[in-house]
Every structure is written in C-alpha cells, then in structure tokens.
Amino acid sequence: MTTTACFIVVSKNDIPIYEAEVGSTVRQKQEQAHQHQFILHAALDLVQDLAWTTSAMFLRSVDRFNDLTVSVYVTAGHTRLMLLHDSRNEDGIKNFFQEVHELYVKTLLNPLYLIGSRITSAHFDTRVRALARKYL
C-alpha cells in the first residue's frame, strides 16, 4: 500500500529544524513536497491553540486537507513533531512520535547542540526513516 507522509519538526520559535518525506511513494511526489510543507505550516496556528488546552503530548489529528490529515505531537519544550499523512493508523503514528521524541531528547542532550537549530545528523535521519518504515 502506498502512503504519502511528510514529517517535520518545528521548534518553539516556529522554525522547522528537521523535515523528511517518509511516505512509500517518494519519487513522484517532488512537486507535492512544497504543498505538504505549506499545509503543515498552515496547521501551526491550530496547534498553538490546542496545545494549551491539554497536558497530553499527542494531539491526534488537528487539521485535514482533502484526504490528508495532520497529526501533531508537542513536547515539553513546545517542539512540535508534525506528520502529514493519508493513513488511518493512529496507534502506529503515536508509537512513531514517541520513538522520534526519544531520539529528539537524545539529540538535545548534546551540550554543543544549540536548541532550536537544525538537526543535521545523518544518523538521526537514518533512524527517523527506519522508524517511519516500521510504524507507518
């Protein structure tokens, strides 16, 4: 089954610090990548309001566009892990977010990593893509 999925990590200051197209049909979707990023950024306002109403981290689906859904996971430091997808697999998405959150905390613990700057580690990228294949 081919799935579309675009994953970005947005810092507290609304700056994307990591992005990846993790769906299984990546080749034909180059021109749609821009659209995916646009949809995700447009959803940031909704996330902002929703984040203060609950103390949970997984915010489920916050926005829809055609047949694509935006799911968001907010960390304690207000870093948002956002996923644009067309599947309905909520449990898989929740597990994916939790694992990426753990990776993010490990990245953050590096004292030389400036919080809010781009995550450039290739190892992080590999791990995220592997998790996406596993859970999405």
């Binding site: 984040a51 203060w52 981290m57 907010v74 993010y104 953050l108 919080i115």
Partner: protein, 194 residues
C-alpha cells in the same frame, strides 16, 4: 577470559538508551567544575552584571534540557500548561533531580501578582563559595536562576528570574531566594484558561 562481561558498546549516541544512569555525581567534582566556570567567566567580563548574565546563560542551557528530559523520563509524557503546575514541577521534580532534595519553600509574592519565590537555606552551588565584600550583591546562584529561567522559558512561561541573598536574623549565612517575575502574556493566558 578477557572481554566477558564488557558493557555493550554503542556506535552512536542516538543508539544508547536514555536510562536513569547513576543518580549521584561527586559533589567535589561538581564544586571544582563550577568554581572553574565562575573563575573563567570572571576573566572574560568587566563588571558584575555581565558575570551574572553569563552564569545565567550557562544555567539556561541546562534548564531547557532538564525540562525535556524530565518530562520524557519521569512524568510519562505529560506537559505542564498551568502556572502552578510548572512551579511545583520546578520546586519538587527539578530540584530533586538536580540537588537531591526538594526546594525549601515556594511562595507567592505579596506585592505583585506576577512574582513567585523559591527559597533555599543554602544553595548547593553556593556551598563552597564566599563572595568578597567588593563584589556587593553578587550571587553565584545566578546559575540556578538561569536553570529555572530555562525550564520556564522552554515550557512557554517567559519570566525574569534572579537570585538574591536574604539575611535572616539568628542565622549567620543568609538564605537564598530565587525571584521569578512572569511576563504579561503568561498572566493573561492564565486568566484566559481560568
């Protein structure tokens, strides 16, 4: 047999587990490291305000990380969205993890709505530090104030945090108070959330 029982080697830090690890760090090692930090910064600045600011910035980086780590590891992925919630998180959880005990007291300021104070009889970081008379009101607790500011800022509660010495009659060494003054938007949001 050599190598039997060797701890597992991890290729990359992202593969290592986020375990609790050893709970304790040697106090002397920390005291030496902190004193070097203060001395190094002393050589870099011209005045006391700048020195306090540098210590605060060092603490800010620690605070931001402590927030993420503790919420992930200890609090089962629950965020704090209310003022009192985040303050009691700092007062108990953060203090317990960093200093081995909860803070002595958490009080709301009487004069202003937006002021809160965390008091401690003797801050761990100040235990082996004596401030010369010509440095006036300088307090190395600025490092801890920075940690608190890092936690609050990360959680979305911007505040100005400072450390002060409060002399108490009957005691030789003054108590230390961390004064937290929240920004306008925090109070407005708190009122909105009800």
């Amino acid at each position: 047999m050599i190598g039997v029982g060797k701890p597992k080697q991890y290729g990359n830090v992202l593969d290592k587990p986020l375990s609790r690890g050893r709970q304790e760090v040697s106090l002397s090692a920390f005291a030496f490291l902190f004193s070097e930090l203060v001395q190094y910064n002393q050589t870099q600045v011209d005045n006391i305000a700048e020195l306090e600011r540098r210590l605060e910035d060092a603490g800010y980086a620690v605070g931001a990380r402590v927030l993420e780590l503790l919420c992930h590891r200890d609090k089962g992925n629950r965020r704090e969205t209310r003022l009192l919630g985040i303050l009691s998180f700092i007062h108990s959880t953060v203090w317990k993890v960093l200093f081995g005990k909860v803070a002595d007291s958490l009080e709301k300021g009487t004069e202003h709505e937006d002021e809160y104070m965390i008091s401690e009889k003797e801050l761990l970081v100040n235990r082996f530090i004596s401030v010369p008379k010509d440095m006036g009101a300088f307090n190395c607790g600025a490092f801890v104030a920075g940690i608190v500011r890092g936690v609050l800022d990360g959680a979305g509660f911007p505040a100005v945090v400072t450390a002060h010495f409060v002399p108490i009659e009957g005691q030789q060494r003054p108590r230390t108070t961390i004064l937290i003054k929240f920004a306008e938007e925090v109070l407005r949001r708190e009122a909105r959330l009800g």
